[in-house]
Amino acid sequence: MNVATLVEKRRAQWAELEMLCDGTGSPEATARFAALYRAACADLALASAYQLPPGTVTYLHRLVGRAHSRLYRSHRFDPMTWFDVIFVTAPRQIFADPCVRIATLLFFALFSLSAYLAYNETAFPDYAQDIVGTAALEQMEASFEPGLNGNLSHYIGMAGFYIKHNTSIGLQCFAYGILLIPCVFILCYNAVALGASFGYMIREDTPGGETFLEFVTAHGPFELTAIALSAGAGLRLGMGLFRTEGRTRIASLKANAVQAVPIMVAAAILFFLAAFTEGFISPSPLYYPFKAGWAILSSGLLMFYFVVLGFPRQEPS
């Protein structure tokens, strides 16, 4: 049998497979798809034995490629695995990960240092103005001076804004982690700027200081932890390029990325929680002990999440 007849004979089946690649058909068609796909695979495998012309071989490569990606579909997001990722994988990863510890230490150390420098007006009179800027400080004073009041529609809008803005910063910090330096920079910048604002506002003579404290109490634990966590996830990603532990650089990067994602998922959830708190609880004229209670409760939840859920344990198998 010559090649032209062979191609002519097989062509009808290839055309049928091509058609089935385009859409889902009846169960019979789907069952036929597998048979046709195997036949096309066999044709491709025997292409050199049949001496098929290169054009036909190229065609077969494309056909098999398309049918292959049609047959083996991607694994979609499974809500059951989400639960596992959030409540099992993420806390253990966070508990065990040195990158998270480093990022958290760096963040809170810089935050405290910056807050102290900004607070201590006698020793460092111009620090807060140099870091945050005079205009921004005056704006903060002006916005907190009148005290906390608002209405529901304002709260809802602000909650949306905080979700978008703060979570974006966290995700950006995580993504830049693969380049390491931008991630560390974002982390340090946020620590220093937040610390400076904080230190400045808690000086005794700053107008609106009381209101500021009342405002930040409720969402502080969630938000500050979330920033540190997203930087930790980013660092984990970037460290994969350097600490390969015997793998190839790219294999190490891939493994670290898979480890980093659950941390980032946890961070994103914390950002969401912080945004809702900051939108609804923080600006409301609620009784202050309630806000403080919320802060304590959220810190307790975080402790439970990190330590109790995260504590390394033997898998019962």
Binding site: N2, V3, P53, H61, R66, L179, I250, K254
Partner: protein, 337 residues
């Protein structure tokens, strides 16, 4: 990839059926339009959300409804901005709308479709690939540096330097972008030139075409339509000169025609078919020993001589009895389809 692999943009994938098939990788200039299209698509979706919001605002005048709508709008903005690619690639099997239009697809480096996790990683890390951002007005102090325009230099460098053309997000997720075009053609060259079949009957029966030669012949038959007759002869001569000696053909035989005859013999001629009806050509022989034999005059009713003689005409017109016009008048047959 192995060192011996050719410098090419194709990548071999071995399937569970134990078949190795090839994908063509997509370079930065195929991927950029797809990304720009995606940006347009989700910007348009956001614009629709904003328009509907404005309309609702005018319609109801309720501040609360508007703020709830604003909240949802911001949420949509956030989700589209960060997860548009991941969601599309997960649910449309490795394609976003832009990639679908540009004929691209994301797959795992092992050839399997990508998972939701991989899609998330590669799309979250796009920010790092688009770095460093350049602010508009960076070079002009008059303009405030407000808009940060991504330069994507990091991603471009990474695509250039990796063998699978992966950006950093692809490296971390273990994915690659391949060309997934739908338009295919199935080229089987048709030969309807009578002289080819006639010449093919003179190829000795003990001559077996090697697989390499078969590939070369098929490639030649596919591409000869794009070459001028003189160029065809020039290309074909390298292969046919030894064959002319071996087959003891006359040296002035047209190399292009001989190649085509071999192609016909290899791919198209049926094993048990009756010898083709040569008609007026039956009197000709390409063999060297028949060179001195006087060419029999074709019957008066035969097809035009100009059609029949070029088989024996030479590559060099001065050695041949055929005139250059006859060479030029050779009909373009056997087009690649």
């Amino acid at each position: 990839m192995a060192d011996a692999a050719p410098l090419d943009t194709t990548i071999k994938v071995v399937t569970p059926e134990n078949i190795a098939f090839e994908y063509q990788l997509a370079g930065p200039f195929r991927r950029l339009p797809a990304y720009v299209l995606d940006v347009f698509v989700y910007s348009a979706a956001l614009a629709v959300v904003v328009m509907v919001g404005l309309y609702l605002g005018f319609l109801t005048g309720s501040v609360l409804a508007l703020s709830v709508y604003g909240f949802l709008g911001l949420l949509v903005w956030f989700v589209l901005g960060w997860f548009y690619g991941a969601l599309c690639e997960t649910y449309f099997n490795g394609r976003t709308i832009g990639k679908w239009i540009c004929g691209l697809r994301v797959i795992s480096v092992d050839g399997r479709p990508l998972s939701g996790m991989q899609a998330t990683i590669r799309n979250l890390l796009r920010v790092a690939d688009l770095a460093p951002p350049a602010a508009l007005g960076q070079f002009d102090s008059e303009i405030a540096p407000v808009m940060a325009v991504p330069t994507a230099l990091i991603g471009l460098l990474s695509v250039i330097l990796t063998p699978r053309m992966q950006r950093l997000g692809d490296l971390a997720a273990g994915t690659m972008v391949v060309v997934d075009e739908k338009s295919w053609r199935l080229p089987v060259a048709k030969v309807d030139d009578l002289r080819v079949a006639a010449l093919a009957t003179y190829v000795p029966g003990d001559y077996r075409v090697t697989p390499t030669m078969a590939r070369t012949l098929a490639a030649y038959a596919e591409r000869r339509a794009y070459l001028t007759p003189a160029r065809r002869r020039e290309v074909a001569r390298h292969l046919t000169d030894p064959l002319v000696d071996r087959f003891e053909f006359r040296p002035d035989i047209d190399p292009d025609l001989l190649m085509y005859a071999l192609y016909y013999q290899t791919f198209l001629a049926a094993d048990n078919a009756a010898p083709p009806d040569l008609g007026a050509l039956a009197a000709f022989s390409p063999l060297r020993k028949d060179m001195d034999r006087p060419v029999a005059e074709p019957p008066a009713a035969a097809p035009p001589v100009a059609q029949a003689t070029p088989m024996a005409s030479a590559a060099n017109p001065e050695h041949s009895a055929a005139s250059p016009e006859q060479l030029a008048a050779r009909p373009e047959q056997g087009d690649v389809r």
